[in-house]
Symmetry: C2
């Protein structure tokens, strides 16, 4: 099998695992009132790429493989945080689409959460997804196949902190706040400012996804450092490609409104550097991401995922 | 000193501790973008009662005292989660006040968060407060005076789960969702329904506050069970008194718009049972709360706090 076909088969298997785990981990009625549960599921099962959970599982596998441990035990340890990351990503989209924020009515080809459930319920569904993410990391897994319970507890706590720091005001929410303020004031943003905003807004959670899987699988500090570099470069590449797709892509492929950034006069990589230079920047990020992995002999699906991130069309 | 004067002195000392700890624990610029940090602090330092953190500290002291341990070590263990509970309570107020929810412009005598910072930033400030709460419990305390590090880790994880479950869709957010739906459909709510909604909306976090402090201080299962009963009764008493104050209180004392529930045709205890029966119900709750404590010889400030909750005028 080519690397590409291999990745595709692996991704399909992992996405099935992730969707099954999300279903299993999510609270349901009567403990969870039906309407808010419905609103949570509506956005969670809307055909996302599952990039963040996939990254967490791939880095767990890579960390395990580097010391000859089994991939499936490593994935089992990382699956709860993988799902938690998707809950957090989904909450951020739901809140981001609200009229008071980006005011988007289309997402992944369907009406946004607040269009279907109303603004109040969409706010609550986002709050619920975020809170449930932390409940999930604290609760699961209760133990690992070949890891002491105290070790699992310590890894969960560290993971929780990585994820919460990445999602909070010094990470993703902070990035959204900077973005919101810039849109309000119409101040122009330079390349440095754009990069700093995206490092928070999308980069922090992508980096945390790669790190969290590795922490749960017991990676050592040198491996974590390499995976952090990989995650940083991948996060930036992802955002540059997102900006390129917003210029080039058809709304149909993206499942969201294309050309929106330009229309909203938002700073983007193509606007600042042009399309060709932007493409070259994304490719250079991926090269550095791969180099960080090679230096610590980490592999598995991580290199192929980096290639996929820049080759994607949606 | 009378019990009342003793409580007042204790509360004053604890509130000073809590405000200092909140200041210390909150992220600041440049890691946290200034505007979102400002919006978080605006609602956090708006003169709240600090009931939830105070409860956490009181139950930590009570659990420690029951086995002859020192109050200050117990409080040090419980302080981070105490602060986290105030962050969560504050986030819930910020989101609850939004136009798409209760649409309130006055809170604790000041314009609500979205009136000052705009709706988008208020949503983000709430998201940030919630996320930071979990980051804080995962991070602090790093160790206890006389407790092994692994023990602290296990207690933090259990506390995290209690708090996240209480705040999430099966707890507080679920209660808000039920409330929002009821307001939208105009369906009438009976006594059972009202109690069930409030058990989630305010009860769950009050119960979690009492439990979290006791868990961090190392309470045993029998003590936790008693504190859970205490927390449940206290939560219900608190809500009944809140409803009574909404009928009786002046807006000035409350720092929020009085008579709002009746105007919005919201179900309340006085509306369903009358004022006298509501007062008797609150007093009966407190009686049962005190009984639960006595059965396990738990005391400290917990009994006085229960009395204060029904005697308060704001």
């Amino acid at each position: 099998m080519s690397a590409d076909a291999d990745l595709r088969a692996w991704l399909e298997a992992r996405r099935t695992d992730i969707d099954g785990a999300l279903e299993r981990f999510l609270p349901s009625a009567p403990a969870c009132p039906p309407r808010v549960g419905e609103a949570m599921r509506y956005s969670l099962f809307a055909g996302g790429k599952r990039l963040r959970p996939v990254l967490a599982l791939a880095s767990a596998e890579a960390a395990a493989a580097a010391r000859g441990a089994a991939a499936d035990s490593a994935r089992a340890l990382a699956m709860p945080v993988a799902c938690a990351l998707e809950l957090i990503h989904t909450y951020s989209l739901v809140h981001d689409d609200l009229p008071a924020m980006d005011d988007d009515t289309l997402r992944r080809g369907r009406p946004t959460n607040h269009v279907v459930f109303g603004e109040g319920m969409a706010i609550l569904a986002g709050d619920a997804l975020l809170t449930e993410a932390f409940a999930l990391i604290a609760r699961e897994p209760q133990r690992g196949d070949d890891v002491a319970d105290e070790t699992v507890a310590v890894r969960k706590l560290r993971t929780l902190q990585i994820v919460a720091d990445a999602a909070g005001p010094c990470g993703m929410v902070g990035g959204q706040a900077i973005d919101l303020e810039a849109a309000g004031t119409g101040r122009s943003v330079d390349g440095e400012g754009l990069r700093a905003m995206h490092a928070r807004k999308t980069g922090a959670l992508i980096r945390a996804s790669a790190l969290a899987g590795a922490v749960m699988a017991g990676a050592d500090e040198a491996q974590l450092h390499a995976i952090q570099c990989y995650g940083d470069e991948l996060g930036l590449a992802f955002q540059i490609v997102d900006d390129i797709l917003d210029v080039e892509g058809a709304s149909q492929d993206l499942g969201k409104t294309a050309g929106k950034d330009a229309a909203a006069n938002k700073p983007t990589y193509p606007a600042l550097y042009g399309l060709d230079a932007s493409r070259a920047m994304a490719a250079a990020c991926v090269e550095r991401a791969l180099e960080a992995l090679r230096a610590k002999r980490l592999a598995g699906q991580l290199p192929a995922i980096a290639q996929w991130v820049i080759a994607r069309t949606s």
